[in-house]
């Protein structure tokens, strides 16, 4: 009995240490964001202040960048989810000749190294006049998540028992009706996770707007933060404050979605 307890103590200890180690990088972020100093290194200030947050939150440019970040992330999320539902449903419930090759194609796109596409996309966008437009960023961000969305959604549709689908058909719902009244409502929790996942990925995406936008008033917060860091004259405490403002929504959404995320991902494995 004692032996077993000791073993558990070790497990708890190891995990606690790991979690503490995971928190180390945040130390600078928090100390610096409440600091009157302006330091890329680590110094504990004499006093703490809310000034960095105040400065950031009263700065119209930053507020606007948060707003642009929201528009672009939400818009792209909307597009990917909208376009994913139909194919996911068909992949999950119908069998047809090209199913396997199409599904493999979609799978190959899910892990695609997107960064390598930015340069050609840039040239392409200039050609068709989508360069430096919010709609262009939304369209491109949206298409990036589309393949993985199709997969996750297909997997969640797969988990709906066949009998429920059949019941809805016998009850008089056609394919579309059963998609709208049964499939989508039933997968709402996973859909919610998917939306969160998409949003957070888009919200964190830096290089797409970085390369596809140039006008100041269109830049989302991710690019703003980077510009902040790269500039010759940086206010690191404000940078830290802005980073916290930038990170917190993503973190909250993740923790909120954690329970369902395991479900959504395990669905992904079953596929």
């Amino acid at each position: 009995m004692i032996k077993i307890k000791l073993r558990f103590v070790v497990v708890y200890l190891v995990l606690t240490l790991l979690a503490l180690a995971f928190l180390i990088p945040f130390i600078w972020l928090f100390v610096e964001s409440f600091s009157p100093l302006n330091n890329v290194g680590f110094t504990i200030p004499n006093r703490f202040t809310l000034d960095p947050f105040r400065n950031v939150l009263t700065n119209g440019t930053f507020i606007r960048s948060i707003y642009m970040g929201l528009i672009q992330s939400l818009g792209a999320t909307f597009l990917s989810v909208m376009f994913a539902i139909g194919p996911a449903y068909v992949f999950s419930r119908k069998s047809f000749k090209l199913k396997t090759p199409l599904m493999l194609g979609v799978l190959l796109l899910t892990g695609f190294p997107v960064f390598s596409l930015l340069v050609p996309t840039f040239i392409f966008f200039i050609d068709i006049g989508l360069y430096n437009t919010v709609i262009g960023v939304i369209l491109f961000l949206g298409v990036l998540n589309l393949p993985i969305d199709i997969w996750i959604m297909k997997n969640s549709f797969d988990q709906i028992p066949k009998s429920i689908e059949r019941a809805s058909i016998v009850d008089g719902a056609g394919t579309l009706k059963s998609l709208f009244y049964v499939f989508i409502p039933l997968t709402l929790p996973i859909m919610a996770v998917l939306i969160i996942l998409n949003f957070v990925i888009n919200w964190g995406n830096f290089y797409v707007p970085f390369i596809l936008l140039s006008s100041s008033h269109l830049l989302p917060i991710s690019v703003r933060i980077y510009s902040f860091f790269g500039a010759f004259s940086v206010r690191y405490n404000e940078l830290a404050a802005l980073s916290i403002i930038y990170t917190v929504p993503a973190v909250i959404l993740y923790i909120f979605a954690q329970k369902y995320m395991i479900k959504a991902l395990s669905g992904g494995i079953k596929g």
Binding site: I164, A167, I169, V170, D171, G172, A173, G174, L186, L188
Partner: protein
């Protein structure tokens, strides 16, 4: 008014034949039970009636109208599933309202109808609950209710009771019977449980490997099975089978000869005798004596099932109401030849 007729139905999945040249006619207002082991094709048959599957060839006629390629919602059928298939995100009321909403009925009508059916099934107080808050029996009642509200011409029930506890099962079984006699609608009921089939069916169709073995009333199929499969599939405990070889120009069990007018042409004979037809006391001259040793006895409430072995080591089952049996004592039992069933070498039954 609705009869169902299946004509020469074949169904293949990939290259596997599931249904083979199936012909079946179900009369209007009949409670028809399709009975068969799992994989026999009974659910597929039901699905083709519902329109969830399209047969590879053959036709389905409802009241002599060809509905083979009709969509399910055009057929006027309602279906109840083994796992109830209630929509988990809707409460009971909404589940029952769903088929009506799909038909675009007005809300007042839906309300009226659901209350009516809920009263019949005694689920009125459940209407606000979600499926996960229901017990199995309640869920199946709701599933039934969802079928009932539609006033379908034909009810299709796919093993609706098999997920339920024994007690609830018999209760709902009774209710089903009553509902059927109240509604006077055509019911097609699929099960693998022969007791259920015997109890519920006006007629029973026994299916094996995609082929109909026999159709008839429960009594007919029980007493006069067409072949060994049907004989074995019906009855609990299973029928005792004696495979007899011809020697000295006749068939014998132990020392006793088996007579019969049609036996001469056969090389092999199979004798089937139901456990209740092995007697511990001789009743008539025709009874065939059989030396056995009782090995064990099981109490069933109304009597006993005796497990015994013959001289040749074959294990047999006997139903008896006698309690004072000595275990491991050799005794003589008697085969009620009158009620025994004979099969030829193909397994088909023959007259004595």
């Amino acid at each position: 008014m609705s009869s169902v007729e299946l004509k020469n139905i074949n169904k293949m999945y990939d290259k596997v034949t599931v249904l083979k040249d199936l012909n079946l006619k179900i009369e209007d207002q009949e409670f028809f039970v399709l009975l068969g082991p799992s994989g026999s094709g009974k659910s597929t048959t039901l699905n083709t009636m519902a329109g969830l599957d399209v047969p590879t060839s053959g036709n389905i006629l409802f009241d002599s109208e060809d509905v083979t390629y009709f969509d399910p919602n055009k057929r006027g059928v309602a279906m109840v599933f083994q796992d109830y298939a209630l929509y988990p995100h809707m409460n009971v009321y909404k589940n029952m309202a769903f088929p009506l909403k799909m038909k675009r009925y007005k809300n007042e009508y839906i309300d009226k109808k659901i209350n009516e059916v809920a009263n019949i099934l005694g689920i009125k107080e459940l209407l606000k609950r979600l499926p996960r808050e229901l017990s199995g029996g309640q869920a199946q009642r709701v599933a039934l209710g969802r079928a009932l509200v539609r006033d379908p011409k034909i009810f299709l029930l796919d093993e609706p009771l098999s997920n339920l506890d024994a007690k609830i099962r018999s209760q709902i079984r009774n209710e089903l019977k009553l509902i059927h006699s109240d509604l006077k609608k055509t019911f097609v009921y699929v099960t693998h449980d022969q007791q259920e089939a015997m109890y519920l069916g006006d007629r029973v169709g026994i299916l094996n490997e995609g082929v109909i073995q026999q159709i008839g009333t429960p009594q007919e199929v029980y007493k006069h099975p067409k072949n060994i499969f049907v004989a074995k599939f019906l009855g609990e405990p299973e029928i005792n089978i004696f495979e007899l070889d011809k020697n000295d120009g006749g068939f014998k069990i132990g020392d006793a000869p088996v007579d019969g007018s049609n036996l001469d042409a056969l090389n092999k004979l199979t004798l089937g005798i139901r456990p209740e037809n092995i007697l511990l006391k001789k009743r008539s001259e025709k009874d065939i004596p059989l030396k056995i040793v009782i090995r064990a006895k099981e109490f069933t409430g109304s009597g006993f099932i005796l497990i015994a072995s013959t001289e040749s080591g074959k294990e047999i089952r006997i139903i008896s109401d006698q309690a004072n049996m000595e275990i491991d004592e050799p005794i003589t039992a008697y085969i009620d030849y009158e009620n025994s069933i004979l099969f030829d070498e193909h397994g088909d039954s023959i007259n004595k």
